[in-house]
């Protein structure tokens, strides 16, 4: 093994943490120097992680680094190690790219705020803790990183303390999120009491011998699952995410949705596939898939009723994480591949959407869907970026959301056929339905914010500066590239990551020494490629999109007589009274404004009882959210104790 490479994981983490401390010292004297240090440390971290791409992803190596040189003695891991296999690196790549983009965006986006040295210090600590979490090979280290992550995320959520609801969202996040932290800690204690080790690889090696005989391990699994589930904001913890997202600065919303939830996903994959190796048991599969499917559906319907741009995006964020968790629970190579692909895509397109929302907020000062409108006239470039993100999340070809959702449908459908299982088929239908509702809800946002009439107060709104558009363009280009070349993504990212998950002996041996896994007969094998059937050709879809766009453009150019524009202008004055006329007496005012909230009034009217129940359920009271969380813990523990 290349010994120099071994230092890269710790260097990537240290550059972020060191950057945090240096920024806090330097930025008090000169904000420019602080910005430079922040940019330098995130770039360094990205560089170190990218340098690991070739050995880990292409050559299949697993890089270990023992802190302080404390290597295992006589088959017992006594030191703390960082262990980077393809799964860790996959999430490490997601994290560092998102951190890099978010940092670039912050430079301009945050320039109206004060206390910026604190912002960058907290931001870099958040980034470092998340990277430390995914690269760590030690369970207690994971817990410490989770705690640093939660603290910094809470502090950053409340960063704009005078912003309406910021403190409230932060407090709920901290209080209810502490259930998850407690879950992880109790799980670790119970696990340690049975196996007497905290090293992930050693736990994986010792688990098959002891599992099944011990009810304590079943309880430990339950606590750890709910702990990581909380960090992924799964149902019933999703109100936290909605509250935190809506009030946090947009660059932090990107971090919470794109990076923090991925830590939960990473934790659940590591826990079920490698530590406990029980993902293939029906109970665990139902548990994980069930939580994912419920999160996916409940959150997308909740998003329907939102009037705040970022709160709506937050619910969609959890809905998409629900997709990821759903397929992760299927315990098939295709499901895992689909889950990882969607996790990556979710970071890209959701990040893009949050950044466009931030751009709108930065320029107009509002996120209220009922007040905004017609911004495509003033901010055409942001609108184009938003449309790319909206098309991706709704799963329209040729963007990346389509590619991964296509794999998700295949994975759930295959699982249903293979096991003759109606549950998985129902989940497949649920996934399709959720996608349709996502599209509907994004049509609503597009209409509310970017199309329709431009309110008078926003007539002087300017386009955002290039420094803010550049990070958005990076994400938009990634949206298109990962959507157009799914086969490349599969070859270079997904297949290595999925085979790393399947090949547990390699993970154990890399940390504990060769032959350690074989002595304890750890199961696992090598997966050569993902069994994706009926792969689609994005280039054909792109050609279709291009031709349709051309046709629409030709029709639009040929059929826009000048006199209609006069009619349009003459209607401008009375848009308030004519608001609903296009639905009820449209002949009077053809060009009246259709509010985004009114688009799906029929659907909402028919589902009004469901929406009323859901609205009351998300009461905003900390006690209620805690109750749901404790109920979830009790439920998971009950399932684990009775069936595992």
């Amino acid at each position: 093994m290349n010994t120099f490479m071994q230092n890269f994981p710790i260097l990537a983490i240290m550059s972020l943490f060191l950057g945090a401390f240096i920024t806090s010292l330097v930025a008090r004297h000169s904000q420019k120097a602080g910005n430079f240090i922040s940019a330098l440390s995130v770039t360094l971290a990205l560089g170190f992680i990218l340098a690991l791409f070739k050995p880990v992803m292409l050559d299949g190596q697993i890089i270990t680094y023992w802190l302080g040189g404390w290597e295992p003695v006589a088959g017992w891991a006594i030191g703390i190690c960082l262990e980077v296999d393809a799964l860790s690196l996959f999430f490490g790549l997601i994290v560092t790219v998102a951190v890099f983009v978010s940092c670039l965006y912050s430079f301009t986006y945050m320039n109206h705020d004060d206390a910026l040295p604190n912002y960058y210090t907290l931001f870099l600590m958040l980034s470092g803790s998340v990277l430390g979490l995914v690269l760590s090979g030690d369970l207690f280290n994971v817990f410490v990183m989770i705690e640093i992550m939660t603290f910094t995320a809470v502090a950053l959520t409340a960063f704009r303390t005078s912003y309406e609801g910021a403190l409230e969202g932060a407090f709920k996040y901290l209080a209810v999120g502490s259930l998850g932290s407690t879950g992880v800690l109790v799980g670790i204690a119970l696990l340690y009491s049975q196996l007497h080790t905290l090293n992930l690889a050693q736990i994986a090696a010792l688990m098959p011998v002891t599992q099944g005989s011990s009810v304590v391990l079943a309880i430990a699994f339950g606590f750890l699952f709910i702990g990581f589930g909380t960090k992924a904001f799964l149902f019933p913890f999703h109100p936290l995410a909605a509250d935190a997202h809506a009030v946090a600065p947009a660059s932090i919303s990107l971090m919470i949705s794109g990076v923090l939830t991925k830590c939960g996903v990473y934790g659940i994959i590591r826990l079920t596939y490698i530590l406990f190796q029980n993902a293939n048991r029906p109970v665990v599969s139902y548990l994980v898939t069930g939580f994912g499917a419920v999160s996916m559906f409940v959150c997308v319907t909740m998003a329907f009723n939102q009037h705040n741009f970022k709160r709506l995006l937050a619910f969609h964020s959890i809905s998409q994480v629900g997709y990821v968790i759903t397929v992760v629970g299927l315990s098939s190579a295709l499901g895992l591949g689909a889950g990882l692909y969607h996790a990556m895509n979710h970071t890209i397109f959701k990040g893009l959407l949050f950044l466009t929302a931030g751009a709108v907020q930065h320029q107009t000062g509002s996120l209220d869907l009922d007040r905004l409108g017609g911004l495509s006239k003033r901010m055409p470039k942001t609108t184009a970026l938003f449309l790319i993100g909206a098309a991706s999340i709704s799963g329209l070809p040729p963007f990346n959301g389509f590619a991964s959702k296509w794999m998700i449908y295949q994975a759930t459908f295959n699982a249903g056929l293979l096991h003759h299982n109606l549950f998985y088929l129902a989940v497949c239908v649920c996934a399709l339905l959720t996608s349709v509702l996502t599209l509907a809800s994004f049509i609503k946002v597009t209409q509310s914010v970017f199309f329709g009439q431009l309110p008078k107060e926003y007539e002087q709104v300017e386009e955002v500066p290039l420094a803010m558009r550049l990070p958005m363009w990076i994400l938009a280009v990634l949206c298109v590239v990962t959507g157009l070349f799914p086969s490349l993504v599969q070859t270079y990212l997904l297949t290595p990551a999925v085979s790393a998950i399947a090949n547990i002996p390699a993970y154990v041996d890399a940390a504990m020494g060769a032959g350690y896994a074989a002595d304890r007969s750890v199961p696992g094998g090598v997966i050569a490629s993902l069994p994706v059937t009926n792969t689609w050709t994005p280039t054909a879809w792109l050609a279709l999109l291009f031709s349709v766009t051309c046709a629409v453009a030709i029709v639009a150019i040929l059929g826009s007589p000048k006199d209609r524009q006069h009619e349009y202008i003459s209607q401008m004055g009375e848009e308030e009274s004519a608001k609903y006329d296009s639905f009820f007496s449209g002949e009077q005012a053809v060009y009246s404004q259709v509010g985004g909230s009114d688009l799906f009034w029929g659907f909402k009217h028919n589902w009004r009882k469901y929406f009323a129940v859901m609205h009351n359920w998300h009461s905003g009271i900390v006690n209620d959210y805690t109750l749901y969380g404790v109920a979830a813990i009790a439920f998971v523990l009950l399932v684990c104790v009775t069936t595992l």
């Binding site: 609801g165 502490s178 407690t182 119970l190 340690y192 909605a242 009271i621 900390v622 109750l627």
Partner: protein, 116 residues
């Protein structure tokens, strides 16, 4: 003997949850969070306890096969987790202070501008 510890820590956690669910005062919610935390800490330190073991303070020369001591790792973990718990309490109390200044109340039923 150790059973008392285990029962005690789960009782503490349960009481903390009960406090967080039923009390409408933010300060009491924070007290509940701390109780849960203490329960978890007690569990971690109990896990490493061996009846009759001595404190795990040895030099390499003193260490022999016969030395019998409690597991030092959970103690280190507990220290870390106590520090984290203190930070949680400090942070949530400071948020409570600022919430009180902004909302003029500490009643959870009135601090619910974000809902639905």
């Amino acid at each position: 003997m150790l059973m008392v510890n285990y029962l005690g820590c789960f009782a503490l956690i349960a009481l903390g949850f009960y406090c967080m669910i039923t009390r409408h005062d933010l300060i009491k919610v924070v007290i509940g969070m701390s109780l849960v935390d203490y329960g978890a800490n007690l569990l971690v330190v109990s896990v490493g306890f061996h009846a009759g073991g001595t404190a795990p303070i040895f030099t390499i020369s003193e260490l022999s096969r016969a030395s019998f001591f409690v597991d030092p790792i959970p103690q280190a973990l507990t220290l870390t987790s106590i520090v984290i718990g203190a930070c949680t309490t400090a942070m949530s109390l400071s948020l409570c202070m600022m919430l009180n200044r902004q909302y003029g109340t500490l009643d959870t039923r009135e601090i619910r501008r974000l809902r639905g």
